[in-house]
């Protein structure tokens, strides 16, 4: 924490600074922009690179929580309805089924129905033969089924759309920039110190045109700072003072998900039993996600799915889909739920999902004598808008500038549509990067001979390069256009990716050719390594075959050292 000198030059100034580019932070950004505030968002990595990039993409109807926590269920249901109306293009209305199998407890069904009633959710019973018509892969041991309004949501696309809309309204979003400390004056917290992170992704330091300075920390000042860093919330609060960290009751709960390379169900399928491991199936485009596990972890560090966690998921998945072994697994991934501490303090390791999906708003001015710092904690993707709305209300009170929340009314533009300028927004300060807008529109660079980089997901080289031109890092562009997310997991597209980057003169024409080559190589190697971490825990069936083929190709055809070889070199 550093005291701000009077008249000190700053890199940027705004009404509010939001730390964290996950669903919560971006939600707060959008909420405040619609209320007419001038907002800056700072994110240490890429957009949705933490919890929001590693959930199962399920828009809850509340059914999941009806049996344990009808209040949370009611909150989910309300948000489910609002998001379906304002963010329609990012939601697939698959509908959801709750199915009770022969081995599932009967008394739970009654308790669940009672919870649903209290939450305002009315599950529609489905006949047993009708269920098997709807979902032919489901086990024949289904006894009862109910229909609920669950849906699949494209969290990544939704967050990018919110960011682009906010940027269009004048907000600034700095990616790959880490907050290293808070700035204070006699009135409390007045801003943050930020360093841009170097490395090959430096190019994408900001979505706006202003690049963040690399070596020296830059100062951003504001009246209020919102800490929306999810699993990093305690760490971030600790930069202000230890007391602030102590007021953040955060627990970490690891969840592992498994993706199958096939659309096995057409509805979201939940098991009608007390929430446990591996009892949700969510269809997304051509794949199905099976989730999730739950287990306490000490912190948000780099988490990998372990084979035993995957084994557990698969084992439970078999109960719902008996033929699941024959479906090629695509990859497994892990995320960390930032939960309120009381929810994970139980001895039962699975308690992370038991309850506590609520959220908490900490005004550090009240708790620690640090006015101007707010931490928003807990919650879930489905309720991110509601969390942002309450945070926005608090910010309005703190600043003393009342404004109404409008996120439940203003539609989120689909990617590729003209970005509307909210009327209440102040005159834009940093001009919108036309590149970003064009990339969002899917328009392509006409000077490049177009070719397909990724055959699994149909990503053309000009689409990819236009995203990179717009200032996105490769990892962001990859997630947005789904490069390398299909069946081959980078085996064949890594080579074409290198070709596309070279063909575009990337990264930048001013760099020396030698730097180019090394940057391209570093990026493509990192891309491939990233894909490899996800497949390491699913080495059976079709994925084992692909991996064996990839290993042979890399060693025998491409002359790339295997992972063992790399270690030897080091």
């Amino acid at each position: 924490m550093r005291r701000l000198a009077e008249g000190e030059a700053v890199f940027d100034r705004a009404d509010v600074i939001v730390i964290g580019g996950g669903a919560t932070g971006v939600g707060v950004l959008w909420d405040l922009v619609l209320r007419g505030f001038d907002v800056v968002l700072v994110e240490q990595a890429g957009l949705a690179s933490g919890t929001s990039g590693a959930f199962h993409g399920l828009l809850h109807s509340g059914g999941r929580y009806a049996g344990t926590d009808p209040e949370t269920a009611a909150g989910c249901l309300a948000e489910n309805r609002i998001l379906k109306s304002v963010a329609r293009s990012f939601i697939r209305e698959t509908g959801g089924l709750f199915v009770r199998l022969e081995e599932d407890p009967e008394d739970w069904e009654e308790r669940w129905l009672e919870g649903c009633r209290r939450a305002g959710l009315s599950p529609v019973p489905v006949r047993r033969d009708e269920v098997l018509d709807l979902e032919p892969h489901l086990t024949s041991t289904v006894l009862k089924a109910y229909r609920v309004p669950d849906a699949a949501v494209d969290g990544f696309g939704l967050l990018w759309s919110l960011v682009w809309s906010s940027v269009a309204a004048g907000a600034r979003v700095y990616l790959r920039a880490r907050v290293t400390g808070f700035l204070t004056d006699e009135d409390g917290v007045r801003g943050v110190e930020v360093v841009g992170l170097g490395g090959t992704e430096e190019r994408a330091a900001a979505v706006t045109e202003g690049r963040f300075p690399q070596a020296e920390p830059g100062e951003i000042t504001a009246e209020v700072v919102v800490n929306a860093t999810g699993p990093w919330a305690q760490e971030t609060a600790a930069l202000a003072c230890p007391a602030a960290a102590a007021s953040v009751p955060l627990g970490h709960d690891k969840g592992v998900m498994l993706i199958f390379n096939s659309r096995l169900v057409s509805h979201v399928v939940n098991r009608l039993r007390p929430p446990a491991d591996g009892d949700i199936l969510v269809p997304h485009g051509p794949v199905t996600i099976l989730g999730t596990t739950s287990g306490n972890v000490p912190g948000p560090g780099r988490l990998l799915p372990e084979p035993e966690e995957v084994a557990l998921l698969l084992c439970e998945g078999r109960a719902l889909l008996p033929d699941i072994d024959r479906v090629p697994p695509l990859r497994a991934y892990a995320g960390v739920r930032p939960l309120l501490k009381e929810a994970v303090d139980h001895t039962d390791p699975g308690a992370g999902r038991g309850g506590g999906r609520g959220f908490l708003l900490v005004d550090h001015g009240e708790t620690d004598g640090l006015p101007g710092l707010v931490t928003v904690l807990g919650g879930k993707f489905t309720t991110f808008r509601a969390m942002a709305a309450e945070t926005g209300d608090l910010v309005c009170r703190l600043v003393g500038r009342p404004a109404r929340c409008r996120t439940a009314e203003v539609g989120v533009p689909r990617l590729g549509s003209p970005v509307p300028r909210p009327p209440a927004a102040p005159v834009s300060r940093a001009p919108l990067t036309t590149g970003a807008e064009r990339a969002a529109h899917g328009r392509e660079r006409p000077d490049l001979a177009d070719s397909l980089v990724c055959e699994c997901e149909f990503v053309s080289s000009s689409r990819l390069v236009s995203l990179l031109d717009a200032g996105l890092a490769l990892s962001d562009a990859r997630r947005l256009c789904r490069l390398g997310m299909g069946g081959c997991q980078g085996i064949f597209c890594t080579q074409r990716l290198a070709g596309a980057l070279f063909g575009a003169g990337w990264p930048g024409d001013t760099a020396q050719p030698r730097t180019d080559r090394e940057a391209v190589r570093a990026e493509t190697d990192a891309f491939r390594r990233g894909r490899l971490t996800g497949v390491a825990a699913v080495q059976w069936g079709g994925q084992a075959r692909l991996s064996a083929l990839a290993a042979a190709l890399e060693r025998l055809t491409f002359g790339r050292p295997g992972r063992e070889g790399e270690e030897k070199v080091r």
Partner: protein, 430 residues
């Protein structure tokens, strides 16, 4: 033995039946036929050869047996019309050539070390280049790509090659015209096999590259210069461009491997000792005591004195890895609750979980290396262990697994298995 369909199954007799026609299967068939056996090859298709860049990699052959295998491979290749050689294409003292090895560029732009390479890449041996002390104005490498072939980014290859080897490089991408369509090397190779089209390409290449190409020491082209006419095409391009020309190994589907399959198969059939049964998948084996009497694809029963199992590894679909096998190998599943061990539950009636083992129920083992690697456990001379198994079944190629299977493994074990199987026939007749 049960046969699908009506009536009695067709029965055919051979001395040796080779199951699989990838690299190991073809070498085994050739070795058995060379030893005088009548050979039947039962296979689905060309197996892993569609993925093979054509390079023979591995540890330098040690011992007389491996050298004999390599010598046999080189000599038979000459008869097939697809020559293999070591350093710079020299056949050296026959098998000895493989001891020196070669270093060739690949389509990643990085050099790959190999022992033997097909004739189409000989001019690209980087070790020859380094030794000649090339100067910047003296030669260099021109990487030519085709617009229609997206998996061969000439700019990347040239850039990486310059960084990795210090050789001066340039790149040029030319279009093959509308006839080429988009993307598939196999289709482009079909054009190069058409003499009339190739005439036109020669014309165009002289116009587009002619003056420039002469200033380079060599021109690297994608490995699609014809499935059959590659030798004459390369010769014509060499004359036309006035410099050395070679093919650069690239991603699958891979022409060099398909060339190999077609030419070896044609030679084996023409020699009159080998019959190919293609599009067949062996699903059953008839064993009696320590001998296998016959295998069946459900329609035809193949009887023989000995069998070579060359169905490929995990990559070639010769082995399936069920989840249980993976979890068993990866970690003790201590996190599981009792009674929940994966695979712990019995399979449903009438359903057989796919074992890692292939049709003979041989013992397999997995290793955790760079990747999980699976293979059939063998004792000496490709004979599977434990010794209780069938004594006239020999295993070859990537079915054997090993931490890093390579093409040399397929050649040496294919040769061993083919000869051992042919020897069984003599034992049987005595």
């Amino acid at each position: 033995m049960r046969a699908v369909g009506r009536g009695a199954p067709r029965v055919v007799d051979y001395d040796v039946v080779v199951i699989g026609s990838g690299l190991a299967g073809l070498v085994a068939a050739a070795a058995a036929a060379a030893a005088g056996a009548r050979v039947g090859v039962v296979a689905e298709s060309f197996g892993g050869l569609a993925m093979w860049s054509g390079l023979v990699s591995g540890k330098a052959p040690a011992g007389d047996e491996e050298l004999d295998a390599v010598r046999f491979f080189i000599e038979f290749g000459v008869r097939c019309g697809l020559e293999y050689g070591g350093c710079g294409g020299s056949r050296g003292a026959e098998g000895e050539a493989a001891r020196e090895g070669m270093e060739v560029l690949s389509s990643s732009g990085r050099p790959v070390r190999c022992l033997l390479a097909p004739e189409t890449v000989w001019a690209g041996d980087l070790r020859n280049w380094a030794s000649s002390g090339m100067q910047a104005d003296d030669g260099g490498l021109l990487v030519v790509g085709f617009t229609e072939l997206e998996d061969y980014p000439a700019a990347v290859i040239a850039g990486q090659a310059a960084a990795e080897t210090g050789v001066r490089t340039a790149h040029r991408t030319v279009s093959l015209g509308r006839a080429a369509g988009r993307g598939l090397g196999v289709r482009i190779a079909g054009l190069f096999d058409d003499p009339a089209w190739f005439e036109g390409f020669l014309e165009a290449s002289r116009r587009l590259l002619g003056r420039e190409a002469r200033r380079f020491r060599a021109v690297a082209l994608p490995p699609v210069l014809g499935l059959f006419r590659f030798r004459s095409n390369l010769e014509a391009l060499r004359e036309n461009l006035g410099t050395a020309v070679f093919e650069l190994p690239a991603v699958p589907p891979s022409l060099p491997g398909m060339r190999f399959w077609h030419l070896w198969r044609w030679r084996l059939e023409a020699d009159g000792r080998t019959t190919f049964h293609l599009g067949r998948r062996v699903v059953e084996a008839d064993t009696h005591g320590d001998r296998c009497l016959a295998v069946s694809d459900g329609l035809t029963v193949y009887r023989a004195a000995a069998f070579v199992l060359a169905t490929g590894g995990v990559a070639g679909r010769g082995l399936e890895v069920p989840p249980e096998a993976f979890f068993r190998l990866s970690k003790p599943t201590g996190a599981l609750r009792p009674g929940q061990a994966p695979g712990g539950g019995p399979a449903r009636p009438g359903e057989r979980s796919v074992p890692v083992e292939p049709i003979f129920g041989l013992e397999t083992c997995g290793r955790r290396t760079d990747w999980l690697s699976w293979g059939v456990r063998v004792q000496d001379s490709s004979r599977p262990c434990p010794t209780g198994g069938p004594a006239n079944v020999f295993v070859a190629g990537w079915q054997l697994g090993g931490p890093e299977p390579d093409a040399l493994l397929s050649i040496t074990t294919g040769w061993q298995a083919g000869r051992a199987a042919a020897d069984c026939r003599e034992e049987g007749t005595q």
